[in-house]
Each structure stands twice: as C-alpha cells, then as structure tokens.
Point group: C2
Chain length 232, copies 2
C-alpha cells in the first residue's frame, strides 16, 4: 500500500457544500494527523443508501484504495494499525481504550444538549430532500416537532458549557486531551463543537473559556483545516 | 532501588480503621497493579499536619524507601516512571494524558453529587477531633450545615447514576476503561465509588447496571483488595 493511492472520505454535506458531520470531522483530522492525503466525496443524508451499494447507514465511510471502513473510531483504529509508522492517533493502547470513553462522553453529555440548540439550524441548511428526511427522523426520535425540539435559551447554552467542565478542568493541566499535542480524543470532542459551529450561529463557547482557547487551537491544526470550513 | 525496601502509604482513616479516601484507594490499586508490596500508615484528617513535618495538606502520601510523593496522579506518574518494567498503569502516553480527563470527570461529575449523599455518613464514622474538623471545613465549603448538605433522596441517587452514563456506554464496548484490563483511569473512578461504599449504606449502583458489574470486577482485583475493606 502506498500513500499515493486513491483515498476518499464520504463526507456528509448540506447546502453550500457545508460539511457538518461531527463524526466526519473526527476522521478528517485523524487523516491529517497521520499525514495522509485524501479527497472527500460530498454526500447528503438521502444519498448515503446510494454509496457502495447501501452497505452503511451512516457516514463517515473511508475508501482507502479499495479498503472500505465505516464508523469514526473503527476508521481511526484502521488508520492506526495500517499506518503505524506515522504519528500515533492514540499514544498507545491506553489512549486507544480511553478514546472510547471520551467518545461516549461527547455523545452522551454534549451531543444531547447541543442538538436541541442546533436542530432547526441544521434543517435549514439542508437541501429539500434531506430536510424532509431530517424532519421526519428527528421528530420521530424526540416525539416532538422540530420547532418544539429547538431550544436556544441561555439556560440550554449554559448547560452545554457546564457539561464541558471535565474538559475545562483537564485543560488547566495540559493543552490537549492527548497531552502536549492532540490525539483522537481531542478530535472526538472537536467534531461535536465543530458540528455546532458549522450549522448554527449560536456561540456555544464563551470567549475567555479555556475550552474556547482549546477549540481555537484545534481549528488551527493542519493549516487551519477546521477553520476554513463553510460555517453558519 | 529494590522491591524490598520500606514502602509506606499514608492512608486516611476513620473509626474502626475504616479507610475511605477515594484518592488513597486509587494509589492502593496502582501499587497492587505494579505488584509492589506496601504497608499503610493510618492517619486521620487532623493527623495529616503531623506527617513528614506537615509538608502536605492531603493524603495520599507515598514514602517509597525515602522518596516522598503526594497526590494520587503524581504518585501514579512516579510509579510508572520508576517501575517501568512492571505492568503499565497508563498503557502509554495517550493513556497517561487521558487519565487526567477521567480524573477530572470523576471529581467534577461524580464526587460533587455523591458528597451530598454521604457527607453525614462520613462524619459519623470519624473520631471526635476529625468530626469537628470535617464539620467545620465542609460547612464552610457549602455555606450550609452538614444536615442541610445531606441529601439521600432517590433523585440525588438517580443523578449519580445518570452521571455515570459515559462509563456505562464505554462498558458496552470493553470490560474496563483501560480496555481488556484495568488501568489507572479505572482506579480513579473506582476510588470515588469505593469511597461511597465504605462510608455510606446507600446503594449508589443498581444491580443489573453494567457499572455495578464493572465495580464488582474492580472489587475482585488483586485478591479482593477493595472488597476486604471495612464498609458501612
């Protein structure tokens, strides 16, 4: 296998080529961390069944010169094991195991309150076919209309900021979850906050918050890969 | 340095030689993980200023053949670096960095609601001099009486169980935070729940909860070191 074969990441998109998937962002940073060149193939929600014969229900999906891997942490595992001579995404087996905890923390503690803030903004930044799918699936999940799910109150934003406390306290000790430099665990949390940044004008992080400074550091990584994205 | 020199852990104690410090439990398991024999020196809260000339305000303090280290994660770092030929406490630099996040998660998300449940129980299991110190310091911290701080409501217990969700979700993927076996990150969370187990009769974990099963596995480690402790 060489670094020059075709490497394609199927990457969720909205209107204006907006790439907002938190899980795809994890993988884009993981690929950059490994120094692996890649192209993205934009795919809307309703286009996922048309990718690779509908083998997967969600993105990210990586096609690495014919090797197909889906799911952000499975992709990170694949990259770590396949490209082990390049910078480690985990910093050893303990970091690999811990990335699962950080992933589950981000999903259970951050996504849950964040989605209430950004759900209408996501909808409004999708093409019509995706809007219909998104409304139906999210309204079924919450048993509420999108308009009822949406909550942009100051209390809701504050609840996200409060939920970030374990990260904030860690950043008092070291610049990244990975220690002196970022690891996959940072990309897991970054993806969640980048998802909000790209889809919604609501300022989730307060300036002066150490989490804000860490997020800015993450936006700067790999020639500002995250910062250059189309945002709300 | 040999494995046979004197190794003493200063370990917080209550009545009936009850050893309840969450941070001391972390270190006891870390020492056992490294296969290092040690003795404990029981010290009440009000005895800490009399240890090693009052150099430290809190336990754990490890005296490893004359090398003195305080703070549970500093002790783990010291053990990892000094006894690097023995089983790793971190599983590499990524796991070492991630242990800080797990530590800060346990302290900010679990200790905070748990202390409201167990604070009176801790008090009632201290010698009189420690009771006076404990009441004064905790009442100052909360600006409330111990009796007002205490909250053993079902809602409070439920809030702890809900806060454990990131751990619960991780345990659906692997048996320990450390992966196939326990690492320092497990001992950090174990210490917090062991603190409650040793001081209070309240059942924090529900049977059937994957976190309960994980806690039982931790109690079994190292010949049941944690299980043998005097409990409430």
């Amino acid at each position: 296998m060489t670094a020059s074969h075709a490497r394609v990441l199927y990457d969720l998109c909205g209107t204006d080529d907006r790439r907002f998937s938190p899980y795809c962002w994890r993988v884009k940073l993981a690929l950059a961390h490994k120094g692996l060149a890649f192209e993205t193939a934009a795919v809307p929600f309703t286009g996922i069944p048309g990718v690779l014969g509908g083998r997967f229900k969600t993105v990210p999906i990586l096609d690495d010169g014919g090797t197909i891997v889906a799911d952000s942490l499975a992709i990170a595992d694949y990259l770590e094991d396949t490209y082990h001579g390049r910078p480690s995404l985990y910093g050893g087996p303990g970091g690999r195991a811990a990335a699962r905890f950080v992933d589950r923390w981000a999903v259970t503690q951050l996504h849950a309150p964040l989605v209430r803030i950004v759900v209408r903004d996501i909808h409004d930044r999708l093409e019509p076919a995706d809007q219909a799918y998104f409304r139906q699936s999210r309204e079924a999940r919450f048993s509420k209309s999108l308009e009822e799910i949406e909550d942009k109150s100051a209390e809701r934003v504050q609840s996200v900021r409060a939920a970030l406390e374990p990260l904030r306290a860690t950043l008092a000790l070291q610049p990244f979850l990975g220690g002196e430099g970022p690891l996959m665990s940072d990309y897991c949390v970054f993806g969640t906050l980048q998802w909000a940044r790209i889809t919604s004008p609501v300022a989730i992080l307060a300036e002066g918050d150490p989490v804000h400074a860490w997020f800015e550091r993450c936006l700067d990584l790999y020639d500002g890969m995250g910062r250059r994205a189309v945002t709300a």
